[in-house]
Symmetry: D3
Subunit: 272 residues, 6 copies
């Protein structure tokens, strides 16, 4: 079973697990506009599919993605004056940001496997996912300042909330230097490093299978509430949790989960 | 000197230091409604006691707590329709969240000693305290998804602000897997690990004694301002600090502290 | 080339790089009011200088700073009653906070080199900079509670957003204990440790030179957007990024940066 | 049917309608500590009573309340220095603010009838209610500056969000001048004015009866969502509405309400 | 010139002015899912059209809209338990809210003409527009509580920020009572009332023509900045204004506007 | 007694009352850079003067101000590309916004008397003051869109929080139409209208004298807390009020105010 996209392979390697592969390996998975439009389509579809409970994201070939395909895009903008050029830029950035945010808005958890070169847009994308793991060989960079611009598809807004050292965030965003998987683990950008890409994908599949075996109500509520809370006060986090869980606790999954634990059997949860 | 509670031992092992022990070891310190109501009572009392300047929280017996006592509670709710059930749930969650938040609202710093099993509610409680230390044997888990629900007593709202890796937060909240004291230290959930429970309690007592020997105005102001600032912009943090300290700096403790340092003697601060 | 200040040396050790040294080594660089007023003046000037693209901050002599000079200031305040004293305190804190915030508001990235004793105000200052590196010998402390007060020049508001362990933040702010460079690295307060002060300054100079060689539009936009985003929701971060970059992308630096990369030559960017 | 309190009459003049009267007319309903503690008790009880769907608040006798009873309280505070006095003040204000906020936190809508003198605390209280109506004779004042203090039980925080002229808010809070019912209507502080107290209470009873006849799920959800939204962005308001209504829409009240409308009969809703 | 939609007439009655009419008069312009999907399409298209600078929204026939078509929708939801029903509800509300928000996100100002019955969804829609004017005969109601639910398409989140009396907001949202155009004007919900629908549309056309004759950069920037600022602190409003205007001020429109004023001629602005 | 400025008359018409007059009547009080720099200087000085407790702002001559002096400024900006021009704009707007905000940051209440033409910057300035009154002849306009730009010195950020009809805010900011004093009163932009300028200044002087006769601790605390609360949640407003008042209540002014009231004498408050 698989779904057909121009630039993505979507497969289903385990029950309730989808695997999204960026599929333009001959160009090191470099992105252009068609691709991010399709990226949104992929994640919006999986978000509502009752057959999917956890998603893995990686790149076809050795490289995750080298970021923007500079040859297929352009960083000059039409407009008869600076204000009109700015308007065009804002519209394009809106579309681009919205597309990449699809993996964040996706109701299901997304596990990102970083491997090979992970440059520029690669980091923007990784920041929208829930769990990041890396192969030991990964070469990561917030590359944007090296082409004369500030990262604008989300890295600068999300990275400070994802890792635990603002000094490190400024270091890598201002210098555009390559950092390793090991460094990414040390600062908390990724939460696991595996020996190579295959091992990292295998690990991601194990994690995804574990998560997919649990109550989808519980799992998807957890993603929703954590994402809400990151951005808000503890008081607003607690209030939203109450509102959300006043419905979510009315689920048969609790009885099924408790029953399965007591009966030492595998729980089976209804589709969501 | 001690205070009598049904489910908590409260002792005073050093000057100005209180030690709160969850005391239902025969049930691995599992919680039910009476206990969290009493938990709030304990911390509200200590919060205003002039004889207390720092508090230690741990569990009687080898286990901190295994979380909710599933046999004493119920996860089904009365109500003739889904909205009415939801209302009942919201009221219960309000009471439950408010009780556990008592250790966060407590004016005095709370040092949490994690040991043995620390499951579910254990993490919610630990997240409300100020300093977390662990014994090497601790087995920790954000267990809630395993019983079909999203953690709703505060872990999902507080954990992302407490540790420095959102990838790790999602990993442990979505998978409900056990993590070790060492892992907790690496991601910053705890700030120290000791060889066993006794050593961890001893360490906590040393820290508590050190803190209790300082100006209570300075210590309690620090807790209040940090807790405010975590949730707000730097500008709002600075403004609140000014408002707060415009009163707090009018204290004799400054003279006493400076005098004691110059005189190489122990400072003595008035009660607060 | 250098600029003359009473308490700061400002030199220009590399193209577009300024080095600000706190220069009162005979008093271990202890601060008093004149000094923080001048501190603001130094950073405000550099902020708008087209010849500066990155700034290093360190102390003359072995010690960064021991904080406030208790002999030149006073922690008693005029006023006929508690409210009037409070008013005076608020005015002084406003001036003091505003001056120290100058290194945060400064448009150019600031790299702070911590060395020797870094006590009290030293941490407030370091928290306003972008990248923190340390010499191995540094002895750091959020010292304020030891003189009877809560840190009020920014540490309590900024530190929780800078490092990844709130347990550690509470530990060091409540205990005022000395912590080492190594510990500072582990929790993410600094992002690099060098063997001694000279090595740390050398490292800072390398980093500053690297950053100063890049597009100033890209670098300064990155600082501005990260600082905005730390304090706000992801959605507000993305919106501000769009507004900011709708102008910033209209720069010749992009063409120059891309052209230089393709031509394997050093990019030259116009002044900003 | 009525409930007995020392300082409040609570009666039930219509189905599902409670009427709370401040009952110390011999002292013009002036408040002291016992009274605000009881005030919280009254509203907390009504909040969860299934027999109450709307609440009216007024004063016994011609005057609503003249505010604090200066003879029963004191505005001097114990404490050996300014910081310790401040601590005592903060604890008292916390208790006082929390008590008066009970009418805001109350799940059921509260209609406040303002009449006669409505001074100081009267305005703090009125600001916590949902709908304010006034008798034509009411004399209102944010009186606090006249006794040397800024209103601290909520008027300064709530009034700017309740009325539509910040110029007027500053006028009445800075001058402490008396304003009339007519002026209160013009700026939107009250939404109706009746000829005298009896007419105002009668009007309130009609409004309360109308509201009490509707679905309590719909009514109480509306209060909860408006109160949340006033303080937050539209986006956060919409998100909370979705979380809340995902449970609230699962109610039989919708069918009952629609059925009653179509059948031209009075709807009957289950208790909540 | 006009565009063809199933349920909307879109005409262009004056240069740069579009008129959107809800076009299901035989059902009093009642909405169902197809219609709000198309509503979003209409406004998204106009938002980016360079030929449109201001938009009028009204209803075909005497009635603006009576809100939801209860016969074409359903307020029961699929799902095997309360949590799964809630999930379905959240997805539907997300789509519904997003569609109606299209008139708020629309870059061009929208003038809403309220006339005849304006019930339920009518108010949600009106709240997303920029300027509201009414015919004298309009009968308005936040009708939702009368069918057993809290308004969830935006009225409860937006109305408190649109008008200047929270007491009135609670009155009309809790009672669902009809209010008149005159009352709407008094509380600021609408900013003008005309004698009948024709006069109101004529007035809207005059206003739209006036706005459409001005610099589109200035007009659309104003809408964007006001909408941002309503929800945020003054400081964040000022910061965003600076970021936005740093591009917007680079427009030829300023010279054209000033030149036209001095030359007493009509200004001509380039498309945007 | 008066202070000498180039473009402002500062007089002291009553005890503790300062009157600031914009003094360039030959140019209808049009502003250029020197003037707003001086404006900040005037208000910063008055803010800390113990002899001032309330301030009146008006214009010399019949006109308040017609806004920017287009001949003394320029709306073209240096810079070799759009990004560099934008940088220059941001720096200028920062300085300009900061200067005009001085009347908002001023510790003392400011009463703005609007009269004659009040265009563009006039509204920005009025929005920073506390109480606005108008002469009947005033002609007001948010004029900026008529010169091709969005108001950027604060009107768009502050006006929606100052008045109670967002429809009206959009109307006047998008159309740049003149509105009258009467209309300004109706929407709450001003809180009083007097027959002519002299009567309005007289009224302002009465109000200022009334406010200046009260406790400066109470008055200035009220301004500070209202300004904080407008921008924040009720909960944050209440918390800040507690922190602020924990110092402010330690004032002799309370005893003096109460004593004077009981003794039916005029209160005398110490300087602040």
């Amino acid at each position: 079973m698989s779904q057909t996209y121009n630039h993505f392979n979507v497969t289903f390697p385990a029950p309730y697990v989808a695997h999204v592969e960026i599929n333009r390996p001959e160009k090191l998975n470099a992105f252009y506009q068609d691709m991010w439009l399709e990226y949104a389509q992929v994640f919006n579809t999986l978000s509502h599919s009752p057959d999917v409970r956890c998603i893995i994201l990686s790149g076809a070939g050795p490289t995750f993605t080298v970021g923007l395909d500079m040859k297929k895009g352009s960083l000059t903008f039409p407009g008869s004056d600076g204000a009109r050029k700015a308007w065009e830029i804002k519209r394009r950035l809106t579309e681009f940001q919205d597309c990449i945010s699809a993996s964040e808005k996706c109701e299901k958890p997304v596990i990102c496997v970083l491997h090979g070169f992970c440059l520029g847009l690669a980091i923007d994308m990784a920041c929208t996912t829930d769990i990041r793991i890396s192969s030991a060989d990964a070469k990561l960079s917030v590359k944007e300042v090296d082409i004369g611009l500030a990262a604008d598809i989300g890295t600068l807004s999300r990275l400070p909330k994802i890792v635990g050292s603002l000094s490190w965030v400024k270091d890598v965003t201002l210098s555009a230097r390559i950092f390793s998987a090991e460094e990414a683990l040390r600062v908390g950008f990724v939460s696991a490093v595996e020996s190579d890409k295959d091992a990292a994908v295998k690990k991601a599949l194990e994690m995804a299978s574990l998560i997919a075996a649990k109550s989808p109500v519980a799992v998807q509520s957890t993603k929703a509430i954590v994402n809400w809370s990151v951005d808000r006060t503890v008081a607003d986090g607690l209030a939203y949790t109450k509102a959300w869980n006043s419905a979510a606790l009315q689920t048969g999954d609790i009885g099924e989960a408790v029953g399965a634990t007591l009966g030492k059997r595998k729980a089976r949860f209804e589709k969501l």
